[in-house]
Amino acid sequence: MPEVDFTVEVCGMAGDGTIAAGGLINEAMSLGGFSVLGFDSYPAEIRGFGRCVTNSRIGSNDIVALGEKTHALISLNDEQSRSRAPFLAEHSLVFFDSNPPAYVSEDNSLLSVLPPGEEVFGMPFGELAVGASGSSRGRNLTALGGFAAVTGTDPNLFRKVIRDKFKSKGEKVVNINVKSFDAGYQYALEKFSDRLKSVFPKIETGHDPQKVTLSGNQAIGMAAIDAGLKLYFGYPITPATPIMEYLAKYLPEHGGRVVQMEDEISSIGAVLGSFYAGARSMTATSGPGFALMTELITHGVMAEIPAVILDAQRGGPATGLPTKTEQSDLHAAVFGGPGDSARIVIAPTNVEECYHFVIRSFQLAEKYQTPVIVLTDFFLDNRVENRPFIRASEGQAASWNVFPDDAFKDRYQRYADTPSGISPRALPGMQGFNFTATGLEHTEKGSPDYSSENHAKMSEKRHRKIRYALKDLEKPAEFFVSDNLDVGVIGWGSTFGSVLEAVEKSRKNGFKVGALKITSLFPYHSETIKAFMAKSRRVLVPELNYEGQLANLIAHLDSKPVERLNFVTGAPIPPSAIQNRIEELLEVVA
């Protein structure tokens, strides 16, 4: 079978059903046995103002980054789709409404901006939908029918995912939608019979049942449930809100509760309160909300109370770009807040890791009795991947609480200075271990004490504990690493997929390039990172922030300067940009 690497975009106005159509493409292709990575961008305004675009990259091999050139564009609104024309590959397939709704003005046609050589397929999306279902609302589905026919995709894949999507709304709705799809499919088969392609051949092995199509946000919500989350406290903020909505729907049936709090300060306050009393709880937010939480996060550090905080980063500072992606909260996550407040910061790089890292974050928080911050970003939260996905067993999600031994009853020291820095933690209700957790500097017993010796000793204890946590944190993973590299690329978070693809392509071009994936951002494995930097003649750190926040964090580990590649466009880094930079550096190295 020829290798497939094909990118489809659906573009329309908010309200056109764009996101739904993109989602159906992801599901259908996943069902067909392909690898899929999808990403939607939508406007901050709800309807009638903004452009919606979904991007689905479909491949026969693993897909780790977004596609850069579009091979097929499905335009539900030409006025909006004109902006996508520059991203079209040569000879791409363009589907548009030949009889658009009245609200799309005539002088804004997509055709007038298309470069020559694109193959266009005009279909009366709305009329076909009216013919099939009596309503033009199914326009997006007739468009999908056209797409399936022209690309040679098995229509049963689409019929199945459309049925699944609408089955909760009853048989009638299911049939109407399948009919709309079929109307588009039949129309395109006949009308374009001489131009049909075979882009997506049938994969004989079919669908891998372990492959689940999931967004980062869904994976995070599932992880929280599988970890036995008892309480979720949150305040709505893009792009973290879908996590709260997911849990609000599914947590009650698993015995947990979602409480929408009055702000982010009370959310983290309640998370600390419930972990203090022994229940797993979490909150998810984005930069502006995270900033409000920092004081209480450092309270968790000082009073040694566990907490799980997910920061779904977006463009900043301040309100910034609510619906765009950025990795600019790293410094805030690692250093934010008053005092020497070392905490644990981890960052998944793909949807599968979102799931496993969130489960692990509860365990780390329990064992090390400190807030654990999970850094994701808009691109990671909203991207959809279909990778083999195995849910954690109860044992894998088991509690890592460290309780005091009964021998210490009535002479319990809550903040005992142990070699690891971990002091066994009692929970309210345990007889004979009563203590007061405090954000004041305190003795091992927990009484306020501002003496120099005590502050020095207890600061050391808290930092020793965080250093000790390294042994439970995932080590940086090396890709294509040999004894010496011309360029070593270090990546983190949602950006790592682009790093990996760029490195693979450079290697195919014959260059000695390797990659390092850092998922434990604080504390971090300085020895491993140092060794990787030492064997790389040049070190490149691509990031979605202005200054290079990870580069700032690790630059001191090696004497040669770290090359930074910083993007603040609100969009994921294209792999080609990293590849170009790698190859530029190689010219200098040579």
Partner: protein, 266 residues
């Protein structure tokens, strides 16, 4: 020879001396001599003893201020959080383990200024937390600045020409926010505090205790012992705390009547 009765008496004596079952912590309060908080401490400790609540199943949550130190002077579990955030933390504690009895304590700065945004929400969620607001109309721990309940014209080092902002009435606020139990009390009457607390702890929802108290160090003019003793008085004999309209009338007409102002019928 020791009779069995004598042995038992000795044991009881030893246990009492050990303080193991006393809600009063071995650490002595750091409040100024003459502070009204001693009266509140007495009132709450007596409530715990009289209800026979196991100390390990009580959590006392506080924010920052002189009242914020309260958990250290109590033998219950304690959670001393940051400024203004006792109520969210108490919400988390109670929801995590509903078997615990949760007291939140704090001053008027902690509860009406920096933490003022949390009071309406814990009240409307009706979380079973017992919140004691120690209202002395002054910031004591930062050495005497006006608070949200200071009367207009309060002169302090931070307001040398007198304050111009209108004071907040915490009892009225709690009624407006829909608290299911509201009492107004006086630190000079620990027995009255105990009685109201016992009733409030039994209320299976948010209970608010607005406690007038003194700051003997930084307030020599307003909420002094002399003034509070003179001004405060019990609610009238025929007062019915189940009537919300009557409760509003009472609070609008009289700033100093003490007792259970409102109790929602269950």
């Amino acid at each position: 020879m020791k009779t069995p009765a004598r042995i038992l008496a000795d044991q009881v004596n030893r246990i009492q001396k050990s303080g193991r079952f006393s809600p009063r912590s071995a650490s002595l309060p750091t409040w100024c001599p003459g502070c009204g908080y001693f009266g509140i401490h007495q009132g709450l400790n007596d409530c715990i003893s009289r209800l026979g609540l196991p100390l390990a199943e009580i959590v006392t949550v506080s924010g920052i201020g002189c009242a914020g130190r309260y958990p250290f002077f109590s033998n219950t579990y304690g959670l001393h959080t940051v400024h203004g955030r006792a109520l969210p933390a108490a919400t988390g504690v109670k929801l995590a383990n509903p078997n615990l009895t949760v007291f939140a304590v704090g001053g008027d700065g902690d509860g009406l200024a920096i933490g003022g945004g949390h009071l309406p929400h814990i009240a409307r969620r009706n979380i079973d937390v017992n919140y004691l607001l120690f209202d002395n109309s002054i910031y004591g721990l930062t050495k005497g600045q006006p608070s949200p309940s200071s009367p207009i014209g309060t002169k302090t080092k931070a307001s040398p020409y007198g304050t111009v902002d209108k004071p907040l009435n915490a009892t009225l606020m709690a009624l407006s926010y829909g608290a299911s139990f509201v009492a107004r009390l006086f630190a000079g009457d620990p027995k009255g505090i105990t009685e109201a607390l016992i009733e409030g702890v039994r209320n299976p929802g948010f209970s608010f205790f607005h406690i007038y108290t003194t700051c003997v160090t930084f307030d020599k003019n307003f909420k002094t012992w002399t003034h509070l003793k003179e001004w405060t008085h019990a609610l009238s004999q025929d007062y019915n705390p189940n009537d919300l309209r009557r409760a509003f009338n009472e609070v609008l007409n009289d700033d100093f009547s003490l007792g259970v102002i409102f109790k929602r019928d269950i």
